[in-house]
């Protein structure tokens, strides 16, 4: 059987006082450390608070470096005061600009705000580190994208007529010099990447050349400037590299894809929660 203590007014008041004190400590800590709260002191990470908006110490240090090329320890009090004065002025003007509604009027401010919100989505995507399985899966799905450019080296000969082109092809296939043809001059710089060959030859001739192997020549191809014969010296199609070789590009693409998806999601979310009214005829 437990003996209960006799009621004591002093003890009750004492316990109440302890409880009240603990409550005050907790409430005070919450009150004075919450964001946006007016506090007596400047937090360690800030050099100043302007209407409770912090000016970060790291920004102050970077600004000192950028302006006077000097660190905190070597800056004179005057240099520090000057930099701080400029930073406070900037903050005051930013706040005043918001009060005046500059975001509604100034096109540069609007562009900067749109860019900043998009950038924030990119930051979140970039900070996440996809695991290797996700990167491998992306690579497997998009392997062709990493193949790079194939290379071609060829001669592009032009004959003025179908008959002369046919004769030239027959001669070349027989291993003898072709008569009555001349080079187009478009692909005479030696080996070039597929994209360059496509630009030089045009889509139609490039498609023909791409299908030929080294040592092969095409049948005559009728074009506005004559009959073309393509003689391929080398043709190295694009080869998809191994995953390890392109891992950095895969990571960049995965992140870019995530940024695009996050931005699309943000667009949808903002539209969903917004009250958008559109005039009749403009829906």
């Amino acid at each position: 059987m437990t003996l209960l203590p006799a009621p004591s007014e002093r003890r009750s008041l004492g316990l109440c006082a302890v409880g009240a004190l603990a409550g005050l400590v907790v409430a005070g800590a919450g009150l004075f450390t919450a964001h946006g709260t007016r506090i007596a002191g400047v937090p360690p990470e800030d050099v100043a608070l302007v209407n409770q908006v912090p000016i970060l110490m790291s920004d102050f240090d970077a600004q000192l470096r950028a302006t006077d090329n000097v660190g905190l320890d070597h800056a004179t009090p005057q240099q520090k005061r000057q930099i701080l004065k400029e930073m406070i002025r900037e903050e005051l003007y930013v706040q005043r600009g918001i009060e005046l509604g500059a975001q509604a009027d100034v096109i540069e401010v609007r562009q900067a705000l749109v860019g900043a919100v998009e950038a924030q989505q990119a930051i979140d995507a970039n900070a996440a580190q996809p695991d290797e399985a996700a990167l491998h899966a992306w690579y497997a799905r998009n392997r062709a994208r990493y193949a790079g450019e194939g290379t071609l080296e060829l001669a592009d000969l032009i004959a003025p007529s179908s008959a002369q082109a046919g004769a030239a092809v027959a001669a070349l296939r027989a291993g003898t010099p072709a008569q009555g043809v001349h080079s187009s001059g478009k692909v005479d710089d030696g080996q070039e990447f597929y994209f360059a060959a496509r630009l030089h030859l045009g889509d139609r001739l490039f498609a023909v050349a791409q299908g030929l192997r080294a040592g092969q020549l095409s049948d005559p191809v009728a074009m506005p400037d004559g009959w073309h014969i393509l003689v391929v010296r080398s043709n190295q199609p694009p080869v998809p590299p191994a995953y390890d070789q392109v891992r950095d590009r895969v990571l960049a693409d995965v992140r870019a894809d995530k940024v695009a998806r996050m931005q699309a999601g943000a667009d949808a979310f903002l539209r969903r929660r917004a009250d958008i009214q559109i005039a009749p005829g403009f829906e």
């Binding site: 203590p5 990470e45 470096r65 930051i123 080996q191 990571l251």
Partner: protein
């Protein structure tokens, strides 16, 4: 007996509150010591150095080691810089500079981060979106590689030098002497330290053909200012030849 129990409870509660206040005071004092001082002198001050390295290690482990590795040695297969090789891609290895990278990143979408240039990919119709540069052919890429590696026939080197210092515009970022430019993150090509690959001809060909634009995330909204500074100090201390370590 019971009255003694109450007194003990009250004393314990008082002690807990006092301990909490003391811990809070110590935390604020530690953060003030690290954050209110010059970041570039943290590592030369034994007291601040010890705190920064102790508190920076777990932040590095949780947020940086995923790419740079637990020892900070990076990964040349993924173009992740080695933080221990004494070669500074951006800046000179000062804690303040590294802190800015931690906070605002590299090509991370933060307008205060580094994003002044990228390595163009010359095997593309448009090698570089920021300014007009010519595409290169396979032989030109080979000549450039011969010049950069100082290998191969003399005529290839000579053609490569012309490309480097003129046609392809490489000098604009890497400098006419190939010494790089830490103000835009252009690597030194003469020090035999390779950001991507092993310095082999194939690896350099791949970089010239496809370009390179590494990303370091911006942690300004993820880490506290204190965490950003101590992890910057920790990373700066990884360089054995860092004059600021």
């Amino acid at each position: 007996m019971v009255r003694g129990g109450y007194a003990l409870g009250i004393a314990a509660a008082g002690l807990a509150v006092a301990a909490l206040l003391a811990w809070h005071h110590a935390t604020v004092a530690r953060e003030t010591l690290i954050l209110r001082g010059d970041p570039d002198t943290i590592l030369s001050d034994p007291a601040r150095r010890a705190i920064a390295l102790r508190d920076g290690a777990p932040v590095f482990r949780n947020h940086c080691a995923g790419c740079h590795g637990a020892a900070g040695r990076g990964d040349p297969h993924r173009a992740v810089p080695n933080l221990t090789d004494g070669d500074f891609l951006y800046g000179a290895g000062r804690v303040g500079e590294i802190e800015q990278i931690v906070l605002h990143g590299i090509r991370a979408g933060d307008t205060r981060g580094w994003d002044l240039a990228e390595m163009p990919g010359f095997a593309k119709p448009v090698p570089y979106a920021r300014e007009p540069l010519p595409s290169l052919g396979p032989q030109q890429v080979g000549d450039l590689v011969a010049y950069v590696r100082r290998t191969g026939p003399a005529d290839a080197n000579a053609r490569g030098r012309i490309l480097f210092t003129n046609t392809a515009g490489c000098w604009d970022c890497h400098g006419s002497d190939g010494g790089g430019d830490p103000s835009i993150g252009a690597p030194n090509l003469n020090d035999r330290i390779w950001l991507r690959g092993d310095g082999s001809a194939a690896a350099i060909v791949d970089t010239i053909e496809h370009g390179l634009a590494g990303v370091c995330p911006a942690f300004a909204r993820i880490l506290t200012p204190y965490q950003a500074r101590v992890v910057a100090a920790y990373a700066a201390a990884l360089h054995p030849r860092n004059p600021h370590r």
